[in-house]
């Protein structure tokens, strides 16, 4: 019998490689495992993946290739919002279930018939952070963000929801993805009267911000985004990372999760599998791919078919799926199915992640 084809286009290289790389590894590993266990619906699973290097145009071409030439049954992929949005019209036109691994709100708002996503949105990250500042009675927050798509999108969401949490934004600075020194921006922030600083960014920029933050003598609470939710951030920022808070999925703290946490088994097992196989630390991003793949497989199992329409319907009907990102409850209006509880507020303590408070 013909194999079930799962298509993926991911940013395995390029500026978003730290997203695409663990995503691809995860997909490859779990497709292998599924096949080792006999596949699903009595068929083998085949992964067809392409590297879009973070370029939306390439992503679109590859999405077309997946749909038209490789005739995949479902697409799991789109590491960034830009690449995802490029493929959305194709998935919609061709009627292919498409589970995105990117963060921004517009992917699922307004809901699109064939498009789903697994990661938390950047708006949720902002809300989680502002909820935290609110509880610490910090009302003046300075924003600093990178100039990439993730960074700008999150910055925009934070600006939108700030007032909801009584937050006044007193500074709004930017840095480039490859900048080597942000002390100029931080010095301006220092003079802005902020009580806390929020950095929306991913890659190495946030680590430099963190180090420069200490260099210019800032001692205010510093919040980073879920975009740096990996050990690498702590490694790069070094001692300066102490006390930094950020919202992230449970995956990062699987070892210190209380035993009764529903996510504990899932995240522990994923972590173990990943780290044993690749000898490198897990990040939340690989987890998104794990969730995407499992949602797709689950939907096919529920539908007892790879018929695209049926799989889509099954996806939309997902309830109570426990993944690395949280507990997913989809509906016709909610193609992500996560709420704020999926995020944990982490703090760096003694060079390790810990649960805040």
């Amino acid at each position: 019998q013909e194999a079930i084809r799962i298509g993926a286009f991911l940013s395995v290289t390029g500026p978003a490689a730290f997203l695409g790389d663990p995503e691809l590894k995860t997909l490859e590993m779990y497709v292998e495992r599924i096949n080792a266990e006999g596949g699903i619906l009595g068929r083998k699973v085949q992964l067809v993946s392409y590297d879009d290097a973070g370029d939306a145009e390439k992503a679109r071409t590859f999405a077309k290739r997946l749909i038209e030439q490789d005739k995949v049954d479902v697409i799991v992929g789109g590491s960034t919002t830009g690449t995802t949005m490029a493929a959305v019209p194709l998935a919609e036109q061709s009627g292919t279930p498409f589970i995105s691994l990117a963060g921004a709100v517009p992917i699922v708002e307004p809901p699109k018939k064939w498009v789903f996503k697994t990661p938390h949105t950047d708006r949720m990250a902002c809300e989680k952070i502002f909820a935290d500042t609110q509880s610490r009675k910090l009302t003046k927050v300075a924003l600093i963000s990178g100039s990439g798509g993730f960074d700008k999108s999150m910055r925009g969401e934070c600006v939108k929801v700030a007032s909801k949490y009584g937050v006044e934004l007193v500074a709004d600075e930017t840095y480039g993805a490859n900048d080597t020194d942000m002390t100029a921006q931080l010095t301006k922030i220092k003079g802005s009267g902020a009580q806390a600083v929020l950095n929306a960014g991913f890659g190495q920029g946030p680590a430099i911000v963190t180090r420069n933050y200490r260099q210019v003598g800032l001692t205010l609470p510093l919040y980073q985004s879920h975009g740096v939710a990996s050990r690498e951030f702590i490694k790069l920022a070094g001692a300066a990372a102490e006390g930094v808070r950020l919202p992230a999925a449970a995956l990062l703290v699987s070892d210190i999760l209380p035993g009764n946490d529903p996510q504990k088994p899932v995240v522990s097992s994923y972590r173990k599998n990943y780290e044993d196989r690749f000898k490198s630390e897990v990040s939340a991003f690989g987890g998104h791919a794990y969730d995407g793949l499992m949602l797709a497989i689950g939907a096919m199992k529920t539908a007892h078919s790879t018929d695209k329409g049926k799989v889509r319907d099954a996806l939309e009907a997902t309830r109570g799926y426990v993944g690395t990102g949280g507990v997913v409850n989809m509906s016709a209006n909610d193609h992500m199915g996560l709420d704020l509880t999926a995020f944990r507020m982490l703090e760096v303590k003694d060079g390790k992640w810990s649960l805040a408070r």
Partner: protein, 301 residues
């Protein structure tokens, strides 16, 4: 010959994905022909043409979405606007030569790219913006096949125009100022004007291709304006062969296809691509088409 090729190629195109690649090749080739006039014939390097390419797309998209201009109007409007901009920017820039010119055009490209990324209320920022489809004579142009014929026809027309230009007094003036600017001036060639003309022409072609790419894809991102895209365009030109119109077409075709073929190599892709590029340029220092053409002529004699 090219026209026949374009007309017959669909017989060998199995699916929409193949059409997609063909369309990309045609659009890239259009940019490269313009760029080759500038780099290969006139000897004026530009490392900023991606800026014009992207501006074409963004301008047309913004005119259409924000101002409700019908696309059949916004597209030429965008090209004209980019042409005017290139003309203005070209005035001071083209006084430079060689490496300073490369630097200046690179700078223009980077500035355009930063502006596009930053002005997100207009452009949607780094994640790009949606672009409405091309509507001609009240018909929305959709589907790969329709686009294939449009872009194929455009490519044939561009090749024809470029060949005409090269074999005309204006084209000789271009090559003359490449050979020796002083000598060209003493023959009455107004080098400033000629350079400006070809710079503007190439920018308009880039904008046209950029706008069509955007309308075809339905979206555009600032990556299209990036320095790396500018370099990619120049690589296409040099790879295919400088001062060769067909070289530009071949360069665009190979450089569009190659990444699609190499994608099976996964982690080795970038390495192999680099190696292929180096090997080709070492073996064919004049570019693919001129070196092969010479070789062919040699064989024939």
């Amino acid at each position: 010959m090219l026209a026949a090729f374009v007309a017959l190629a669909p017989l060998a195109l199995p699916n929409n994905y193949a059409y997609e690649i063909a369309i990309q090749i045609a659009l890239n080739a259009v940019v490269c022909i313009g760029l080759n006039l500038l780099i290969g014939y006139a000897g004026q390097i530009s490392l900023g043409h991606a800026g014009f390419f992207a501006l074409g797309g963004y301008a047309s998209a913004i005119l259409a979405t924000r101002y409700g201009v019908p696309v059949w109007l916004s597209l030429p409007g965008a090209c004209a606007a980019v042409g005017a901009l290139a003309y203005l920017l070209g005035r001071p820039t083209l006084r430079l030569k060689g490496h300073p010119l490369a630097m200046a055009t690179l700078g223009l490209g980077v500035i355009i790219s930063i502006a596009i990324t930053t002005e997100d209320q207009w452009t949607g920022g780094p994640d790009g913006m949606q672009v409405p489809p091309l509507v001609l004579f009240g018909l929305a142009l959709q589907g790969e096949r329709a686009w294939y014929w449009i872009t194929g026809a455009l490519l044939v027309a561009t090749v024809w125009l470029a060949l005409n230009l090269i074999d005309s007094p204006n084209g000789r003036a271009l090559r003359a100022l490449h050979g020796s600017e002083v000598a060209a001036r003493t023959l009455g060639i107004d080098c400033t004007r000629v350079k400006l003309q070809v710079f503007t022409l190439s920018a308009v072609l880039a904008a046209l291709a950029g706008a069509l790419t955007a309308h075809y894809a339905g979206f555009i991102t600032p990556a299209k304006a990036s320095f790396l895209h500018s370099v990619e365009l120049v690589i296409m030109v040099v790879f295919g062969g400088m001062a060769s119109v067909f070289g530009a077409v071949v360069g665009a075709a190979v450089m569009t296809l190659l990444p699609q073929l190499l994608t099976v190599l996964k982690d080795y892709e970038m390495m192999v691509f680099g190696a292929v590029l180096v090997a080709t340029m070492v073996l064919f220092p004049q570019g693919l088409v001129p070196t092969l053409a010479r070789w062919w002529r040699w064989r024939m004699q």
